[in-house]
C-alpha cells in the first residue's frame, strides 16, 4: 500500500515558532535571534549592547548553549535577566526550547529580548524560533569566505555585525568583498563593522528602531 503524505517536515518546528511569535506579540516583546560561529563574539556583543539598550527597554536574554551556563553568568553579571537553555548536544535552538524560555521570562514584562543561539553557522539558520529579526555575527578572524561558504545563514539574516575589525591588519579578511558577498545574498540589509571601541551605537540604534516599531521581518525558513 502506498500513502501520499506531502508533508513539510519543517512545519512542525515552524508551528512552534508561530506560537512563540503570537506569544511575543501578545506580550509586546520584540525578539532578535543572534547567530554566528563559536567565538565570533556574540556574548561580548551582548555585553556591549545591553548597557546601552537597557536605558530604553526592559531587556532580557535567552542563552542557548550545548553545555554549561558560562555565557548566562556573563549576562547575569550585568544585572540583566537571563534564561539558560542547555541543549545537551543539540546544535541549535528550536521553537519548543525557546517556548520554555519565554514562559520563564513572562513575569518580568520585558519588551526587548535577545536570543543568543548555539554557536554554529549551519543548523540555527533552519529553525524559526518566532523571532522578529535575525542578526548574524561574523568575526574578521574567521576568514572572509564564510559568507559564501555558509550562504543559508547569511541569506536568512536581517543584518550582519562584523566583529573584531581592530584585528583586520592581522587577517586576510577583505571588508569590501565581505560586503559584496553579503549583498549578493539579499539586498538592502545593513552591515555593522564593530571593533572594541567603535560601531556599537549604530547597531544599538538599528535594534532600537526595529524594536520601537515592533518591525517584523518576513519568515523565510
Amino acid at each position: 500500500m502506498h500513502v501520499d503524505l506531502h508533508q513539510d517536515v519543517w512545519a512542525l518546528n515552524n508551528s512552534e515558532g508561530n506560537h512563540n511569535r503570537e506569544w511575543l506579540d501578545d506580550h509586546k516583546m520584540w525578539a532578535v535571534n543572534i547567530m554566528g560561529s563559536p567565538g565570533a563574539g556574540k556574548t561580548t556583543l551582548l555585553e556591549h549592547l545591553l548597557p546601552i539598550l537597557r536605558k530604553d527597554f526592559h531587556v532580557g536574554v535567552i542563552e542557548g548553549d550545548v553545555a554549561t551556563s558560562k555565557d548566562a553568568l556573563r549576562i547575569s553579571a550585568l544585572g540583566i535577566p537571563v534564561i539558560q537553555l542547555e541543549t545537551q548536544g543539540v546544535c541549535h535552538l528550536d521553537g519548543r526550547m525557546v517556548k520554555s524560555g519565554l514562559r520563564a521570562l513572562e513575569p518580568l514584562h520585558l519588551d526587548l529580548l535577545f536570543i543568543e543561539n548555539v554557536g554554529n553557522l549551519v543548523c540555527p539558520a533552519d529553525f524559526y524560533l518566532g523571532e522578529h529579526a535575525r542578526l548574524g555575527v561574523l568575526s574578521t578572524v574567521e576568514g572572509g569566505d564564510k559568507i559564501v561558504k555558509y550562504p543559508t545563514l547569511f541569506r536568512r539574516i536581517n543584518a550582519l555585525a562584523i566583529t573584531k575589525t581592530d584585528l583586520l591588519p592581522f587577517t586576510d579578511f577583505d571588508m569590501d568583498q565581505a560586503s559584496k558577498d553579503f549583498a549578493s545574498l539579499g539586498a538592502g540589509r545593513p552591515l555593522f563593522p564593530l571593533s572594541k571601541n567603535e560601531g556599537i551605537s549604530d547597531l544599538a540604534q538599528w535594534i532600537r528602531n526595529m524594536a520601537l516599531n515592533m518591525s517584523t521581518t518576513e519568515q523565510d525558513v
Binding site: 500500500m1 500513502v3 503524505l5 513539510d8 517536515v9 546544535c91 543548523c123 549583498a183 545574498l185 539586498a187
Partner: protein
C-alpha cells in the same frame, strides 16, 4: 548535524500515518530535499540507519529514498528563471530575486504492508465466565 532530530520527526509523522492506515511494516519512505536545505542526504541516511532499530515497523530492508530538488531562482528584473544558488541573478546580476525551489524538505509518502485481517476474528462478546 541536526539530521538525527529531523529524521526522528519524519519517523514520528510516518508512524502516525502508518497507524491510521493500518500498516504494520513500512518498506520505503520517500523524501524530497532541496539542495539549499540544511539537511544533507548522506547525514539523513545515516540518521535513518541509526534510528531504524527503534521502530518495530522498520526493518533492515526498509529503504529511504531521497529526491534531490535543484535550486531555482526567479529574477524580478529580467525575469530569468533557472539554476542559481545565490540571490544574485546569474543573467543580469540583480539581487531582486527570489528562490522558488531548493529549500524544501517534504515527506512525499511511504509504502508499506497492510495488516491482514485475522483468520480468527475477535469475539464480539467477552467469553462468559461460567458458573464455576
Amino acid at each position: 548535524m541536526h539530521e538525527a532530530g529531523l529524521m526522528a520527526s519524519v519517523l514520528e509523522i510516518i508512524d502516525q500515518s502508518r497507524v491510521e492506515n493500518n500498516i504494520r511494516r513500512v518498506t520505503e519512505i520517500t523524501l524530497k530535499v532541496g539542495v539549499l536545505n540544511g539537511a544533507l542526504p548522506d547525514a539523513l541516511q545515516f540518521a535513518f540507519d541509526a534510528l531504524r532499530s527503534e521502530y518495530v515497523w522498520l526493518d533492515a530492508s526498509s529503504v529511504l529514498r531521497i529526491e534531490s530538488v535543484p535550486a531555482i531562482l526567479l529574477c524580478f528584473e529580467c525575469q530569468y528563471q533557472g539554476p542559481g544558488s545565490e540571490m544574485t541573478c546569474p543573467a543580469c546580476q540583480s539581487v531582486l530575486t527570489q528562490l522558488i525551489q531548493g529549500e524544501e524538505f517534504d515527506i512525499v509518502g511511504f509504502d508499506g504492508e497492510v495488516d491482514e485481517p485475522s483468520k480468527y476474528p475477535a469475539l464480539q462478546e467477552p467469553l462468559g465466565r461460567g458458573g464455576h
